[in-house]
Symmetry: C2
DNA sequence: GGCATACGCG
DNA sequence: CGCGTATGCC
């Protein structure tokens, strides 16, 4: 086969937006879709809708009402055990193997409002999650597996991953303690941040725009919270076809009742 | 002019269904629409939508979240004082004058589950409302005004106003204490029940179907809860054109996210 | 701003 | 079943 396209999308309720996933799948034609914030239990997942749109294989890690991740695929999925990266019992991480490639799907905690782990337990939880993830990634790096790690990381690591670096330095998602923590995770696995490997640091790239900005495109106060990382072993398949390999499908943000996140895709040449 | 068409519709949230009212108005072309269960305060009423669909005149009696009645009109409205028919401070009744005809718009309490005023305060409130309405109607009858009284009365008075007379005799909306009370109201004003003046007692007529029956038309477990009454002075304008004067627009129940009530119209020849 | 939850009500 | 209400979370 000529390629494998992997999408990641924080869908903010998969039951409400299965039809939007179908519309996106129709145009982007991903082989694998990693979803975050499915906001349902396994038995509430709209499997039928995914079968109908061409994704008969699914691995769903859900819980009641909040969080939840799922990976759906055209090709058979081998579900893999996930280490307890999350200290709370929350459905935030899963991994599968498809066509010999390991795909890790993460929904890192948002972290609440105040960027102070002493006063804000959610921020403490976020930092803890990132630290555990670093340890996990470091341990796994010994295997030298082909890994694509994707998801809503809820951290915008670089200056041009937010609409205003200065104004967001003390805003959760872009504080130094978060961006440095995420960089340690990346370095622990020697991961390539595909978006930044293909686009210069000076170029603004966003994948999320708050619901609270009513003209999201005009004000463009976005952040790059959704990421696709690959292990060095996948450098050539991921990067050799150039910028066309990586796409943020931001027009979905104009749809009726959209998710606040846009889907992101990587075309792997394999 | 050749006629005045008056509609009544329990809309079950006017903010959610302003577009459905527009679609109904387009086909039924009523001059006046009396709404019940608007479920909003006056300042939340979608006046603009009604102006755009040709009803620039409105009299809104609302409250937060529940109940609420409104009358909208193509022709100028003269709001009239409403006596305190409701012992609680609930937005359940209003009256207006349009083209010299008084229009009374009622939302009689539903009455809860148990048809026992001793144990169920909502049923007691319903009976109290009906009793007060009887007194009001009797008092007003002396004036011999031209009155059209409409609304969701939450009572199905006759055997063929419910899908099963026997099975509903002890179900709130069709118990003898309710149907007899409503009959006393009607008699107090010498009102003509237009639906039954035009259709024989043997014919089933329904205006409401529970949301809980998923195939409402097939099971057809309806009730006639919505009524149009006229004073004897309006007998000829109301009845002389025959059955075409009165319509239950039950196809609205097939629309997406419908109200559980269908709109009902009376064409007055004036 | 929008999506879950649970509740009261019809 | 499907409206409102409220609260939590992102």
């Amino acid at each position: 086969m000529s390629g494998l396209t992997i999408a990641t999308w924080n869908i903010n309720s998969v039951r409400l937006r299965a039809a939007q996933v179908a519309a996106f799948a129709q145009e982007a034609s991903p082989d694998v879709i990693c979803l975050q914030e499915i906001k349902c239990q396994e038995d509430q997942f709209p499997y039928k809708a995914f079968v109908e749109m061409g994704y008969p294989h699914a691995h769903v890690t859900g819980q009641k009402g909040m969080h939840g991740v799922a990976t759906v695929s055209r090709l058979p999925i081998e579900p893999l055990e996930m280490q307890p990266v999350c200290s709370r019992e929350e459905a935030r991480a899963q991994r599968v193997r498809i066509e010999g490639i390991e795909i890790q799907n993460y929904y890192i905690p948002a972290g609440g409002d105040e960027p102070d782990p002493e006063t804000n337990p959610r921020f403490a939880h976020k930092l803890d999650f990132v630290e555990r993830l670093e340890a996990y990634v470091r341990e796994r790096a010994k295997e030298e597996a082909d890994i694509v790690a994707v998801g809503d990381f809820n951290i915008a690591p670089h200056e041009n991953d937010v609409w205003s670096h200065k104004q967001l330095l003390s805003v959760v998602s872009h504080t130094p303690v978060e961006t440095e923590g995420l960089e340690r995770v990346r370095a622990a696995g020697d991961f390539i941040d595909v978006a930044r490997a293909l686009h210069p640091e000076e170029e603004k790239i966003f994948t999320w725009w708050s619901y609270r900005n009513r003209d999201w495109r005009k004000s463009n106060r976005g952040r790059r919270l959704d990421h696709i990382w690959v292990t060095p072993s996948l450098r050539v398949p991921a990067l050799s076809s150039g910028r066309a390999a990586f796409t943020v499908w931001d027009h979905t943000r104009d749809w009726e009742k959209p998710s606040d996140h846009a889907p992101v895709t990587l075309r792997l040449k394999v």
